[in-house]
């Protein structure tokens, strides 16, 4: 969508700050979200983008808790050209997703949820990447640019 809107495809991405956090119970969701919010505020992200990022983070972290009993998250402040952003990585050792294409469709859910988590998250962030190996786990990486 908004991806590659700016001509900076060849500019290298640098990581300015890193923060790791493990999420294993529902009580961890709020502290994690607050941590993401802290970093988003620090780089001066606007309220709307902040809310989008936090909601995306919330979706992904809940997915991790629901389907993989938790996992590790990584919050990074990154910079590419003149643009700053937040990169979130969610890695779990859960059952994995057999059909990613299907999982990315609106309304599809193996659980009893609305089925908007993954496709909705993709719409909320600037860049979205999902890798999954059945039986090994799933890693989702999202980037939200400050003005993206």
């Amino acid at each position: 969508m908004e991806k590659n809107r700016m001509p900076m495809a060849n500019t290298p991405t640098t990581v300015l700050n890193k923060d790791k956090m493990s999420v294993f119970k529902e009580q961890d969701v709020v502290p994690f979200r607050n941590r993401v919010k802290e970093y988003a505020t620090k780089i001066g992200m606007g309220l709307v983008n902040q809310t989008k990022l936090i909601t995306a983070a919330s979706e992904l972290v809940r997915n991790m808790l629901r389907y993989a009993e938790g996992g590790d998250t990584l919050i990074e402040v990154i910079s590419k050209g003149r643009e700053n952003g937040i990169r979130l990585t969610f890695a779990d050792k859960g059952p994995g997703i057999a059909n990613i294409e299907q999982a990315m469709k609106d309304g599809f859910s193996t659980g009893k949820s609305l089925g908007l988590g993954l496709p909705g998250t993709k719409r909320l962030v600037s860049e979205f990447d999902i890798k999954s190996i059945v039986g090994k786990g799933t890693t989702v990486t999202v980037v939200k640019w400050k003005n993206g």
Partner: protein, 295 residues
């Protein structure tokens, strides 16, 4: 070989004999520390607590289990330690103070050992390592239980917050308002829904306003919970309005693709209330006193 065994047997027995000395030394260590909290625990209580622990430890200590930290013999001691650290957590001792309590025992034991095995450095080293390891594992247990004690307090508070933060307010005859503050998770939604539905029955209200101004983020799970609450309210024969949708929340919900079109939503509690009045065909007007006077 025989002599070695004999020497080993000595250690536990020797320590048992020196019990009083150990306690005295330990107390001296504790009292000497500037972090001693006489305000939280009297010296007599501290001594009683320390004596109980040393007593139990020396009673169970044999040369076999000295080198086996996981020995079942120590279960009693772990229990005492657990009790000590939980009470300390509740009394408000800091982790440092609780840690010093255990580790100053190590100092006392090592001092005694040093006096005993002055002439046998190899033996002294061996025994010191074992004692040190044992006390370290006691320290770890103390910390684990200390933190568990604190966590219990936190969990209890979480429960309390869930309970108190969902009041159902009767704003008008037939209109209920429910301000939700904080994150809506499954457990919370359950409480909200129960309170709301019960209050609808109790007051015979026909309109319920769910105000989400205080909800920091609406993700698909929260939205799903909201939709469920609205459906349940409708089943009870009441209309449900969701108010307090902030601009950034509105944008996020649209991007996520959540369909809230079947739900009446308003930006503020005031406009939700206005809408509720219009459904109930009520009108709020300024008093027209001047007219009455002129008549």
């Amino acid at each position: 070989m025989h002599k070695f065994l004999f020497m080993k047997l000595e250690t536990a027995k020797m320590l048992q004999k020196k019990k009083k000395q150990i306690i005295d030394l330990w107390m001296k260590n504790q009292l000497a520390d500037s972090a001693l909290r006489e305000d939280l625990m009297s010296n007599d209580d501290l001594r009683a607590q320390s004596e109980e622990l040393v007593d139990a430890l020396l009673k169970k200590l044999t040369d076999d289990n000295l080198s086996n930290v996981d020995s079942a013999d120590f279960e009693d001691i772990y229990e005492i330690l657990g009790g000590v650290s939980i009470t300390r957590a509740r009394q408000g001792f800091s982790p440092r103070e609780t840690g010093l309590y255990i580790y100053s025992l190590k100092d006392a034991l090592l001092t005694i050992l040093q006096q005993e095995f002055k002439n046998d450095p190899v033996q002294l080293y061996d025994i010191s390592m074992k004692v040190s390891k044992l006390i370290d594992s006691f320290g770890i247990v103390t910390f684990e239980t200390y933190i568990k004690g604190r966590e219990e307090v936190i969990l209890r508070q979480t429960d309390e917050i869930t309970e108190i933060s969902t009041p159902v307010i009767r704003v008008w005859d037939g209109i209920l308002a429910l301000p939700i503050i904080g994150t809506l998770d499954s457990a919370r939604t359950q409480v909200v829904m129960e309170n709301l539905l019960q209050e609808i029955v109790n007051t015979g209200s026909s309109i319920a306003i769910l105000d989400i101004s205080g909800v920091p983020a609406v993700d698909s799970l929260v939205a799903q919970h909201l939709i469920k609450t609205v459906s349940a309210t409708r089943l009870m024969g009441a209309e449900c309005i969701i108010s307090g949708i902030r601009p950034e929340i509105a944008q996020t919900v649209v991007h996520l693709g959540i369909d809230l079109s079947n739900v009446v939503t308003k930006a503020t509690l005031a406009s939700a209330l206005k809408y509720a009045y219009s459904i109930l065909q009520l009108e709020v007007r300024k008093k027209q006193t001047t007219l009455v006077k002129s008549n």
